[in-house]
Each structure stands twice: as structure tokens, then as C-alpha cells.
């Protein structure tokens, strides 16, 4: 692109970019990632050095499904900020996309490449927690900010905490505890006595299952865990697990399954009639899945998600995200949880820079830690001991509504569990978990 951009305005660049993006597949944009997004430069002489941000998300392998909307919305948010001249009105944002391939060492290398070659000051992203933790080591060393939301292992903000990393969604631990809150309520309501768990046999699945079981034991000690089942990551045929669960005849099943495996499971479980006699509370159902599985999703199951737009349409920032997104990609398109959380992350950076009055990393970091920021879920504080956004988790029954072409969580019965109710209670306890870093 180079020089031709100097003549065109920023708007043209964004239009050009989004014309490509507005094709059903974002992939053309990200395919030309390095080229398309790197030079949203202003012709204006007074504009200072651009603020470069690396976006590190997988577009290869099974994580790619959830990278689409974040990759689509981030340029829109950046364009919005840049229309005011950028950060502090003078540092236009440049986004640099990279594919982490869901491999930790690729993530680490791309992070280094972004920091050293593209001179990014912030890295947004990663989908898998293992990649996030590998990247954490790199950004800590180079003193670069990392804003994450999708990869939500509790370790990121506890054991592996670094002051440069900010978490904009609930961690897996927070989510599991939130599920317990909702499930305890249901146990009382429906008189459930016994349950089984089915988890994916990897860190996230194990962790989510363990936290759920431990906390449910505390909250409702009389509820009996009948059996723990574990399926391998990338399972394509859950039939055997489904029939095993059905033979147990529990009152409810807790599933720690995410991603495509989750969809496979739901589709096969529905066909097998699992949901006819067994409740399935707490399944992870981000807006992505509600939209993609609009037809196939069994109605009435109780899902959890992290940042649904439909629950926050009263918040101005959420209205803005949805509008930006629909204007660009069509009436049927909505930003999913991940898009909203990453959009929040970018907006938070803007707010942090404004508060600090500079784009210097140390100052921005300090101004964000402990600050209360405007998000699409309202004003939320960032915890000062581990940079965790005090964001809620949402649990609700999957129902159809006239407003949307896909099911949402029943607004009447939806349970919103606040972040500070389910995170590690005190900052002293958090600090005890955190390891010392040099």
C-alpha cells in the first residue's frame, strides 16, 4: 500500500479494508493482514507516531471459528478511535494481525515478531489459554501490554500474573463458580439429587470441572456426583458418552466442553434424546454458538456466556458496537461475546491513555490498574491486584424471541452473576497465588 495511503483519508482505508471484510469471510482481510491493516496513516502533519497494536488470534485449526468476529470488529473500533485522531487525539491506531495457530511456541514467536518488528506497544488476543500464558512471558519481558479476554484460564491472572496483562472477561474459575450459583438455585427449585459430569480431557475442561464440583460440594453438599466422564479433545463422536450418561439417569449433567466439540456434543445429544430426561445446565454458549447453531440448538437448556449483547442493549457502548457491526456487515450480523470483550479491551486502552495523558506503556498500565472503565456492560472496575475486569457471567435458558433470528437467553429468568461475587475473594489471597517475577 505504502504511499497511496498518504493521499487517501483514513476513511478510505477503512472502507477499503471493510469492503474486503464485509465479504462473508473475514479471511481475505486477515489473509492480507500485514498489508491491509498496517498503514491507516493520516496525511495530517501534526499527527504523532501511530500506536501499534498486535492482534494475535488463531485463524488456523479449531480455534479459528471464534476469531472471526473479534478480527472483524477491532478495525471498526480502531477506526472509531482514529476518527478522533487516535489515542489522545494524535496517535492513530495501527492493527497488525497474526495467526498464532493455537500453538504456544508459534504464539510466543509471533509476539516477539510483533514487538520487535512492528514495534507494537500492546498485544490483544489469543484464544487458547496455553498460548496466552506463553505470550505472557514474552510481553512481561519486553514490557508490552497484553489485553486478553477469550483465553481465560485463572492462571493468567493468578499464578502467572504479570502487571502488563489485563483480563477483560470472566476467568474459567469465575465462570464455573457462577454456574454453581445458578445450579444451586435450580437444585433447590427442582429437587435435583444426583448429577454426572462430562469434560473435555484437557486443562480447561479439567479445571472447569474441578472448580464446579468443589464449589457445588460446598454450596449443596447433599447433591451426589455419580460419575465423571472425560472425552478427548477433538472428539467427533460423543454417542458412547451420551448413552453412558443416559444409562446413569442423573438429574442433571454438567458439561465442561467448549468449541466445536461442544457443538458436536449438543447436536448428537439432542438427536439421542439426552435432554428429554436430563437437564444440562451451565453449557458454554457464547453468542457465536447461539447464532451459528440457531436451528440445531436444543431449546430449554441452560447456557452460560461471557458478554452477550442482548443482555446489555441498554448500555451506550454496546449499542455502538452493535450498530457499527451491523452497519458494516449487514442486518443479520451481531458481534459475539469475544468481539465485544476485545472491543472493550481496545476502548479501555483508549480510556487508559486518556487518563494517563500519554501512551507510554508504564503510565497507561498504572492508570488502568484499579481504574473504573466504561465497557459495553456498563462501568466496571479493574481489580488492582490482578488486573481482572469485574465482569459478570450470564446464565439463562435458551429460548426463541421475535427480535433476533437466533435464540438468546430468556431475559426474564437470566441470572447475572457479578464478577466480584465469584472471583478469588480477597486480594491477599490473590497475591499469595501469584508467583514472584523478576
Amino acid at each position: 500500500m505504502g504511499d497511496s495511503d498518504r493521499e487517501g483519508s483514513w476513511k478510505n482505508t477503512v472502507d477499503l479494508m471493510n469492503r474486503a471484510v464485509s465479504r462473508r469471510d473475514f479471511i481475505i482481510t486477515s489473509g492480507a493482514a500485514g498489508v491491509m491493516t498496517m498503514v491507516p496513516r493520516f496525511a495530517r502533519a501534526q499527527s504523532a507516531e501511530p500506536y501499534r497494536i498486535g492482534v494475535l488470534l488463531p485463524t488456523t485449526g479449531s480455534g479459528a471459528n471464534y476469531s472471526e468476529r473479534p478480527i472483524k470488529i477491532l478495525p471498526l473500533i480502531a477506526a472509531d478511535i482514529n476518527s478522533r485522531g487516535g489515542l489522545l487525539g494524535k496517535h492513530p491506531i495501527e492493527l497488525h494481525f497474526r495467526d498464532d495457530q493455537t500453538k504456544p511456541d508459534v504464539g510466543a514467536r509471533e509476539a516477539r515478531s510483533l514487538i520487535l518488528n512492528e514495534k507494537v506497544k500492546t498485544i490483544i488476543g489469543t484464544w487458547s489459554s496455553s498460548v496466552a500464558m506463553a505470550v505472557q512471558e514474552i510481553i512481561h519481558e519486553h514490557k508490552v501490554l497484553m489485553l486478553t479476554a477469550t483465553s481465560n484460564s485463572s492462571k493468567i491472572v493468578n499464578e502467572n500474573y504479570t502487571p502488563y496483562c489485563f483480563m477483560f472477561g470472566p476467568t474459567s474459575g469465575m465462570q464455573s463458580r457462577a454456574t454453581v450459583v445458578a445450579v444451586t438455585r435450580l437444585i433447590k427449585e427442582k429437587g435435583w439429587k444426583k448429577y454426572a459430569t462430562l469434560g473435555l480431557d484437557y486443562e480447561w475442561g479439567r479445571d472447569a470441572q474441578r472448580v464446579f464440583v468443589e464449589n457445588l460440594k460446598k454450596a449443596s453438599p447433599e447433591t451426589e456426583l455419580m460419575k465423571e466422564l472425560w472425552a478427548k479433545l477433538g472428539e467427533t463422536d460423543f454417542t458412547s458418552y451420551i448413552s453412558a450418561v443416559m444409562a446413569l439417569k442423573p438429574n442433571f449433567l454438567f458439561g465442561a466442553i467448549a468449541g466445536k466439540d461442544n457443538e458436536t456434543f449438543l447436536q448428537q445429544a439432542k438427536g439421542a434424546g439426552l435432554f428429554k430426561g436430563i437437564a444440562y445446565p451451565g453449557v458454554f454458549l457464547p453468542v457465536t454458538e447461539l447464532m451459528q447453531q440457531a436451528k440445531t440448538l436444543p431449546r430449554g437448556i441452560i447456557g452460560i456466556n461471557r458478554c452477550p449483547f442482548f443482555a446489555n442493549m441498554d448500555k451506550p457502548l454496546m449499542q455502538k458496537y452493535v450498530k457499527l457491526y451491523k452497519d458494516k456487515f449487514g442486518k443479520e450480523e451481531f458481534p459475539d461475546d469475544f468481539a465485544c470483550m476485545y472491543a472493550d479491551a481496545l476502548n479501555a486502552l483508549d480510556q487508559g491513555a486518556t487518563k494517563a495523558g500519554t501512551v507510554e506503556t508504564e503510565a497507561v498500565r498504572k492508570s488502568l490498574t484499579g481504574a473504573t472503565i466504561e465497557t459495553c456492560q456498563g462501568k466496571l472496575p479493574i481489580r488492582d491486584c490482578n488486573n481482572q475486569l469485574d465482569c459478570p457471567s450470564y446464565l439463562g435458558e435458551v429460548v426463541d424471541v421475535p427480535e433476533y433470528p437466533f435464540p438468546i437467553f430468556n431475559p426474564k429468568t437470566m441470572i447475572v452473576v457479578q464478577g466480584h461475587d465469584v472471583w478469588v475473594p480477597t486480594c491477599d489471597e490473590v497475591r499469595a497465588l501469584q508467583k514472584k517475577r523478576s
Binding site: T59, G61, N65, E228, M246, K260, G271, A272, K276, T296
Partner: protein, 297 residues
Amino acid sequence: MPSDLSSFLIQLFSGLSRAMMLFLVASGLSLIFGVMNILNFAHASLWLLGGYVTFSLYQAFSIGFGQHGFLLIPAILLGTVCMFGIGWLIERVLIRRTYAYELPEQLLLTFAMILIIGDLIKLIWGVQNRRIFLPIEPIEAFGGFINPYLFIVIGCGFGIAAALWFFLHRTRYGKIVRAAVHSREMVSALGIRIPAIYAGVYAMGVAIAAFSAGVFLPIMPIGLGLDMDLIVQCFAVVVIGGFGSILGTFVASLIVGILYSFSVLIWPGGALAIIFLILVTVLIIRPWGLFGTEMRF
């Protein structure tokens, strides 16, 4: 262990459906290796591609003729034909050139195809998972519920197995193919054009894979990376059964599928380890597999 007969039966059918799924993908792999001596690393990737093609055909039919589940049948058939053509093309353009080379080059070629096909899918279909919705309702059987589609899957598996058996044992072309498994020289000495057989077998293997991908679409959403999850298991099945032996692949699929299904109850989480143990045992004791013929190297 299953407490009563009904859950035992249900577990058995679950195992059968898994077995048929493995068989449908692995049979092409086995056939290609048996005849052409090529380990088609890219088999699962072509399987995935077949799924996407069938998906798109179904979409197109739905737009043309309105939503109807039965449109899946022509979509699967047309998708199978398309993938047969693609398989033929791949053999003619790429694989054919490597017959003169050693085994490693052939492995590498198909390895490279995994990477290329994965990215091509990304370019054409994007990164979203794809699925086909059929209004499947569970039916009551054996005192519980069961997914009726399982019977379609099992039926397709046995159907393909029978069709393959008929093809290999009762048709002239099939007999030539079987002869080629045993002795390439003999077949070419008979004046039969080996290249045409190779292309045909490769295309057929790919077509069977595409067919199975289509059949599974209503119960298995497809997405990037799915091929990686499947290929190692398919290798296991083919090795256990013996390369080139369709019967062996069939039996190995049954063993692996049913054992997996029951081990879910007994040793949750260890099912995969069991497959590996079987695989390693077979490779050490009988490297050419349960039904394979001893190596030709």
C-alpha cells in the same frame, strides 16, 4: 459396566456407529495404501473437503428447491462424484509424479497436501464451523432413547463395506485391483494399464471419504482442524487391520469402535490410550496387521 441389557445394547450400537465412522474414512486409506503403496496422510483432509463440498451443494439445493432434509441425498451423491473427480485430478497431477521416488517423498507430498487443503478450505469457506440441520427426533428403543440417525450411519457403513466387497470380488475391475495389491508386476504383465487403476483407486478412496463426510454432516458439524483429530485414529485402525485389507479395516474398526464405546464406562479418559496400546501391540507382534499380508519391502 452397563447395568442391564438395554444399556448394554445402546452402548453396543454407539460403538457400532463409531466403528462405521472409522471404517468409512479408513477404508479408502487402506485401499489406497494396499494398491498404490502410498500412505495418504491427506486422506482426512480430503474427507473434510468432501464435507464442505457437500455442505455447499446442500446449501445450493436448498436455495433452489427450498429447505428439505431429503435434498441431502442428492447433495451427498453429487459431492461424492465431485470428490471422485478431485481425487482423480490429484492423482494425475501430483501423486503420479512420485511413483518413481521413495516412500518418504510420497509421505511428504501428502503431508504438504494437508497444509494446502486446510488453507484452501479457509480461503473458500472461511473459518466458521458448518453444519446441516435435520429435524432428528430421538426414538425409543431398548427401553431408552436412541438417535435414529445412528442406524443410518451403521447402515451406510455396512452398505459401503458390502459394496466394496462386491466390487473387489465380483467385478472385473475389482479383481484387477485386488490382484494389484498382491503383485503389481503381474497385473502390468497382463497388459492392464496400471496408471488408470491407480487414479481410479485413489479417486475411489477419496470418494468414499467424501461420502462419509456427507453422511455425518447432520450429526457432526465440520470445521477447521477436524481432519487432524481424525487422521491419527484412522491410521490406527488401518494399521491394526492391516494395510490393504478392507476386511481387516472393517474388523479393526469394529474392535476399536466397540472397545472405545465400552471403555468410556470403565476407564473414562483412557479410551484413547487403549487404542494406542492395541496399535503398538499389533505393530510389534504383527506389523502387517491382523489381516494384512506380510510386508513387501
